[in-house]
């Protein structure tokens, strides 16, 4: 009953003309940036964040969330038409989507991607609505030690899943913690790592780091090779975009598989939509009667990963909204946005800000419908965006980055910091350091240090407080387990390799 009341209240908020407008802008922008390869939702949200400061937080979060899930719809367009994933989560869609397009079935492939995204996106929101309130109630019993343990767990899972090298992911996270420590220490008034600059006393603005590492880093990486891709033709007319009845029948399990796998993976901090899409594709292939056809252009190969990719959004918002723990770089930026608006995502979020929580949930239902309407008939129009020359697009991203940073503080010093973090973002990309752990270290660092210091104040410096409380102990144990397990796996791999070489 509580959920139904909340949802009705949410629809009252989401259907206000002003919020509908921002929801539309969000999903439209999301679709556009999803279509444009080289600019992800994290970078876009980071760039647009400063422009939302003057908005009502509910409208702003509705718009930014629209960008987040809208980009996932758009990401499939380039995967199918260009064999270039608009987002990393659309990599798997290339396998069968591009093959379908090459066989002259680009329309049905795009249609299946849109329908699957709609179904799974809606299922994801339903599950978010059902899971988030009880989880929040459970988390109300948390105190500083539990928060420290929770943040450690969140960081540990992200580090584990963030990239090829665990060591590099850990190092990126530690750099994030270092940046988070810059500025005045609120407990003691000591200034830390300010390098004698008064501009640094307030610390480094999250927006500067996020735009620098994501937007500039991405563009600089794309500037390395100055190539243009060839787009496959998109069939015109809604009829040519609709999949056949046989296609839909073949995809019925894929819709369900994508919806559930995407949500479950989304809830796990750090797993992300890329992993969700790979897993659901793998399951789809494993249970298929014709697994050998996967990769040759089967509709299920598009439906399953696209569904998982979209359902993951609902799952990823569960830890963000109920525990204040972001599971990915995009949700980390959304968390920073909440903090900048003076909101505190966590167990009290639903009770303290029902307008925002339920408004967001309801807006996601509305946004999914908008996206289906936008994506089916307008795909041929959106595909024209791929013809925008990158030499016109990239300077625009540079310009928006400068405006975004300058509009937050009005300080030219921050634009210099932007250049520094842009170079850092490029270097990380080039040297294969994942950027998500850096952002998460930065976002969680301050809260993690505060929780640790408060815990040790509570216990007069006795570290056992972190493991003597059951919830905290379990979470810390899991965090350590997650960090240690891959080392054993690696040791085992070495052992197996050595045995093979011996034999």
């Amino acid at each position: 009953m509580e959920v139904i009341n909340g949802l009705l209240h949410g629809f009252a908020v989401a259907l206000e003309p002003f919020n509908l407008f921002w929801c539309f802008i969000g999903v439209l922008l999301g679709t556009l940036i999803g279509i444009l390869p080289g600019l992800g939702p994290a970078a876009t949200i980071a760039m647009l964040l400063p422009l939302t400061f003057q908005m009502n937080p509910t409208s702003a979060v509705i718009m930014l969330a629209g960008i987040y899930y809208g980009a996932k719809y758009g990401g499939s367009t380039t995967a199918i038409l260009l064999n270039v994933p608009g987002e990393s989560a659309s990599v798997v869609t290339c396998l069968d989507g591009y093959q379908m397009a090459k066989q002259g079935r680009a329309g049905p492939a795009l249609g299946i991607a849109a329908i699957s995204s709609f179904i799974a996106g809606t299922v994801g929101v339903v599950l978010l609505m059902l899971v988030a309130p009880p989880l929040s109630k459970f988390a109300l019993s948390f105190s500083s030690p539990e928060y420290f343990a929770l943040m450690s767990l969140g960081l540990a899972m992200v580090v584990l899943l963030a990239g090829k090298s665990l060591v590099k992911a850990l190092l990126a996270m530690l750099v994030g913690l270092w940046i988070a420590s810059m500025g005045i220490d609120l407990f003691s008034d000591a200034s830390r790592f300010t390098f004698g600059q008064t501009h640094m006393l307030d610390g480094v603005d999250f927006v500067v780091v996020a735009i620098g590492v994501f937007a500039l880093g991405e563009v600089l990486g794309n500037m390395e090779s100055r190539q243009h891709a060839q787009v496959l033709p998109v069939p015109k007319g809604l009829r040519n975009l609709l999949p056949t009845w046989a296609d839909l029948k073949a995809c019925r399990f894929a819709f369900l598989n994508g919806s559930l796998i995407g949500f479950v993976i989304g809830v796990l901090p750090g797993a992300g939509s890329t992993i969700a899409s790979f897993i659901s594709y793998g399951i789809e292939k494993a249970v298929s009667k014709h697994p050998e056809k996967f990769g040759t252009g089967v509709p299920e190969g598009v439906a399953a990963p696209e569904g998982a990719n979209n359902s993951e959004t609902g799952g990823a918002l569960v830890p963000l909204l109920t525990l204040g723990i972001p599971g990915s770089s995009t949700t980390a930026i959304l968390l920073a946005a909440f903090v900048l608006w003076g909101l505190k995502p966590g167990p009290l979020m639903i009770t303290d800000n029902p307008d925002l929580f339920w408004g967001l949930v309801a807006s996601m239902y509305v946004g999914n419908v908008m996206l289906l309407i936008l994506n089916l008939p307008l795909v041929p129009v959106f595909a024209q965006l791929l013809r925008v020359p990158v030499y016109a697009l990239y300077p625009m991203i540079f310009g928006i980055s400068i405006v975004g940073v300058y509009s937050v503080s009005g300080s030219l010093f921050d634009t210099w910091m932007l250049a520094v973090f842009g170079l850092l973002g490029y270097a990380m990309r080039r040297l294969d350091y994942p950027s998500a752990p850096l952002i998460l270290g930065l976002v969680l660092g301050d809260g993690m240090e505060r929780a640790l210091r408060q815990s040790l104040m509570m216990s007069s410096g006795d570290l056992s407080i972190l493991v003597s409380r059951p919830i905290s102990a379990v979470m810390l144990f899991l965090a350590v387990l997650i960090l240690v397990l891959p080392m054993f796996r690696k040791a085992n791999a070495w052992r197996v390799k050595a045995l093979e070489e011996q034999s």
Binding site: A190, V403, G422
Partner: protein, 153 residues
């Protein structure tokens, strides 16, 4: 000797991060580690600084032990990216003198004409369109202040 990007990059970045870790720990030693109220400002940096030194040394050692791979650094690609970054930095430096619109126009001109080797008329057209678009969107439509230079815009 042919060295892979991966190996060299790991060793160099690992060494840089070791240096950063040493810097963090040395700075943290200058602040209170523990006070009567509990952990001081040096407590947390001390621990993540030590962790950074340990992790980066692991990276350096594993980089040195790793066999050289076939991948080589494509310096032309790196050069493209770094040249763009340098142009961006010059644009930032010029913000105070020329203001955002002029500095941004010059950056666009550089990217289109030099990095993408488009004809100058195209570069000028794109730069003018970008500057006009930004002027209409930000100062006019959104009432956002942009850096102003000596020319008053």
């Amino acid at each position: 000797m042919e060295e892979s990007l991966y190996k060299r990059g790991d060793v160099i970045s690992g060494a840089v991060l070791t240096g950063l870790g040493v810097f963090i720990v040395s700075e943290a030693r200058g602040w209170d580690y523990f006070t009567v109220d509990g952990p001081g400002p040096g407590f947390f940096p001390m621990w993540y600084g030590i962790a950074m030194i340990a992790m980066s040394l692991v990276l350096v050692v594993s980089g040195l032990r790793q066999a050289a791979g076939p991948e080589r650094v494509n310096w032309r690609e790196v050069g493209n990216a770094l040249m763009t970054w340098a142009a961006f930095s010059v644009c930032v430096a010029l913000l105070k003198v020329l203001g955002f619109l002029l500095a941004f126009g010059l950056l666009t001109l550089f990217v289109v004409a030099v990095m993408y080797r488009r004809p100058l008329p195209v570069a000028f057209a794109v730069a003018a369109a970008n500057v006009a678009g930004f002027y209409i969107l930000f100062p006019l439509a959104l009432n956002l202040e942009l850096p102003v230079g000596i020319f008053g815009f």
